[in-house]
């Protein structure tokens, strides 16, 4: 099994390095095909590993030592258990599909080869992240995906907005990474090791304050990667990257790393209900917070990005409530349908010459039938309509919230479910149906390449059927994740399902009805709430005004005023004083005998005083 593990891990790296060799050459189809093939190989290995761990033991290898200093010993160790195998399956599946899709999507791009190099590098980092058997290894992957995300968001670096978004994403993530790093230090100094098994084995007996700090700091790391409030702004801006990147990194895999971390560290989080509750509450808040912003946004990709944010909130709610397997399950289904949604959006963008404003589209269904069908499937799954994948996982989360008596969380999520359904279908309606507004702007949309559609097909299938594997999945992960049975009476259970489905259907219905009639009146756009939502609660502005600009100002002050005018000036002043004292006292050395004699007299005086006051005879 080790061979499969290494294959799954290193195939993307090999692909990446291969593509990187051609990075500054003109487009070469080979790089796309080679990386895709290698990822396919990785996918096969992952599937094999998944089947293996589904039946039996986890695979744990220790490749070599990495850092060894003092009492700290960090190896490159990899573990494939039920959780990481699931993650590997998700990552490789989505990334293989995205790779194949990108061959078509990036067809005309100048930096085709560079794109694949980074995309594969990302997959490798993600694999390291999920497969590592210790926190430091996780951190390698954690930073690695951050790096690749930076490079891919800023892929079209000529655009200022892209490079800005890339920097923003990286720096935001770094803020969170500091928390993570501190968490790792805490783990090391309190548990004496960074290996998962060693740490988790001691979790039960550990002081709860320390556990709280550990989990809190680790969660700060998770907040950054999973773009939770208040570090969420980068995700929407990250949509500057190519759409396949958004599909892979900013929907399916990287942003779920935070959720993965919480799931992975469940023995720690299980011990501290306070932090867990905080995680859940923040998740619920972000769910509705992001959904509300998605309601009014006009940007095709940003709407999907906000929905991602919202769904991540769901996952954190599940993880925070102790329903780790549900979180993982939702992570998986979400990865499928959200990637599908993004790839569909990519098709639309291709058709519309990279236009993103959904109010400039409309009626595209005629031209792009298949894209429309797949996006509708994905949206249904996102809205949580039976029998699509999203229904099963989302419903489980609501059930968990209700069963653990967290009614506020439940209500929040329930409302969010309605909002989700509404904005998903607002998007569908505005893009694919209704008036053909694109004609005004002179676009000539066309359906995407055939094989791009074929590449998307598996995701569509998975979005439909993934939910039915719930029980198999539960059976598999129950080996390592705690599984709580929720004892809801049959009546309550079915009522809950009905209520949830009800609000989702209502949301869809409202969207369909309103937008088939031409949408809401323009007056709404003048209301305060609309503006608030449209401007993302003014949070980016606040960050810009109260953090970025003061920081830049302060830096300038530190440099120009403090460093040059105080610190350096002090040094120069001392030097200047010495120099000037030389200038002054050089008069003494005038060579004038008379003056020198006078100085001799002064010296004599001084010596006399010294002789009187420091006489040894006294």
């Amino acid at each position: 099994m080790e061979a499969y593990l290494y294959t799954a891990l290193f195939a993307p790296l090999v692909g990446s390095l291969f593509a990187a060799l051609f990075a500054d050459r003109p487009k070469n189809l080979v790089t796309g095909i080679a990386t895709s093939t290698l990822l396919f190989v990785s996918w096969i290995s992952s599937v094999v590993l998944l089947i293996h761990v589904a039946h039996g033991e986890a695979v744990h290898v220790r490749m070599m030592d990495w850092i060894q200093a003092g009492g700290l010993s960090i190896p490159f160790g990899f573990v494939v258990d039920q959780v990481s195998a699931t993650m590997m399956f998700v990552v490789t599946t989505v990334s293989t599909i995205v790779h194949i899709y990108s061959i078509g999507y990036m067809d005309h791009d100048r930096s085709f080869n560079r794109f694949f190099a980074w995309l594969s590098a990302f997959v490798f980092s993600m694999m390291v992240l999920v497969m590592s058997d210790n926190f430091a290894g996780l951190f390698i992957g954690w930073e690695g995906v951050g790096l690749c995300s930076w490079a891919l968001i800023g892929f079209w670096y000529e655009r200022d907005s892209a490079s800005w978004a890339a920097s923003e994403a990286f720096i935001m993530n770094r803020i969170a990474d500091l928390g993570m790093l501190i968490g790792i230090f805490l783990v090391y100094w309190n548990f004496g090791s960074l290996q998962y098994d060693v740490v988790f084995a001691q979790a039960a007996g550990m002081d709860s304050t320390i556990l709280m700090m550990v989990t809190a700091f680790l969660f700060i790391g998770a907040m950054g990667k999973s773009a939770q409030f208040p570090l969420h702004t980068w995700l929407a801006d990250a949509m500057e990257g190519p759409t396949p990147v958004s599909a892979l990194i900013h929907a399916a895999t990287m942003v779920t790393a935070g959720v993965y971390l919480v799931i992975r560290a469940n023995p720690l989080y299980g011990e501290v209900p306070e932090v867990s509750l905080f995680v859940a509450s923040l998740g619920a808040f972000v769910a509705i917070f992001a959904a509300s912003m998605a309601l009014v946004n006009r940007d095709l990709k940003r709407i999907i990005a906000y929905s991602t944010l919202s769904q991540l909130g769901y996952m954190f709610v599940a993880a925070g409530l102790g329903a780790y397997w549900i979180a993982l399950f939702h992570l998986m289904t979400h990865a499928f349908f959200k990637a599908l949604l993004f790839l569909g959006a990519g098709n639309v963008m291709h058709a519309m010459d990279d236009e993103l404003d959904i109010f400039k589209m409309g009626g595209l269904a005629k031209k792009m039938k298949w894209t429309m069908i797949m996006m509708v499937i994905a949206s249904l799954a996102l809205a949580g309509i039976y029998p699509f994948a999203g229904f099963f996982s989302k419903d489980k989360i609501l059930e968990a919230a209700f069963a653990t008596d967290h009614y506020i969380l439940w209500t929040t999520l329930w409302v969010t479910a309605g909002l989700t359904a509404f904005y998903s279908f607002r998007l569908i309606m505005l893009v694919f149906f209704g008036e053909e507004r694109y004609k005004i702007f002179g676009y000539h949309p066309h359906e995407a390449y055939k094989y791009m559609l074929w590449a998307m097909a598996p995701l569509a299938v998975l979005s439909v059927i993934a939910g039915f594997f719930e029980h198999d999945f539960l059976h598999m992960v129950s080996a390592i994740l705690p599984v709580e049975e929720y004892h809801l009476s049959g009546g309550t259970f079915w009522t809950l399902v009905a209520v949830t489905l009800g609000i989702a259907v209502t949301g869809i219905a409202v969207a369909v009805v309103v937008y088939s009639r031409g949408g809401f009146s323009k007056k709404l756009e003048d209301t305060f709430v609309y503006k608030l939502l449209f401007n993302q609660y003014y949070i980016p502005k606040i960050y810009d005004e109260y953090i970025c600009k003061p920081y830049a100002e302060l830096s300038k002050i530190f440099w120009k005023d403090l460093d040059l005018k105080v610190v350096d000036a002090t040094v120069d002043f001392i030097a200047g004083t010495i120099y000037k004292s030389g200038m002054v006292s050089r008069v003494v050395q005038s060579g004038n005998l008379s003056n020198m004699l006078r100085w001799m007299g002064v010296g004599l005086l001084v010596l006399l005083i010294a002789a009187i006051f420091y006489s040894p005879m006294r």
Binding site: Q589, G591, S594, L597, G601, L604
Partner: protein
């Protein structure tokens, strides 16, 4: 009764007179006079200490000082002559060639 202190005070006063000369004289030759005063003042001190402590070292010091003074005058006057031949003056301020 004349004590050591009397001699020493006289010596100090003479020394200070010498100092005044050293400070205010600009003519090299007269400057040299002043240094002679300084030396003589010190000599008195030495001789006095020698007497009141019954130790000949003081007198011997004074003796050597006289020797030094004599040779100083010999060399110094020689130098002055050379200088005077070149410059025609013995003013101290005219000897300054450094900037200061």
């Amino acid at each position: 009764m004349i004590t050591l202190s009397h001699y020493l005070i006289v010596s100090a006063i003479l020394f200070c007179i010498g100092l005044v000369g050293v400070y205010r004289r600009k003519n090299l030759l007269l400057l040299l006079f002043s240094t002679e005063i300084l030396l003589n003042a010190v000599n008195i001190g030495f001789a006095a200490v020698s007497k009141f402590y019954g130790d000949l070292t003081g007198q011997l010091f004074a003796f050597f000082i006289i020797a030094v003074a004599a040779s100083e005058v010999a060399v110094g006057l020689g130098l002055f002559i050379v200088w005077y031949k070149r410059r025609g003056t013995l003013d101290v301020d005219s000897m300054q060639s450094m900037h200061g």
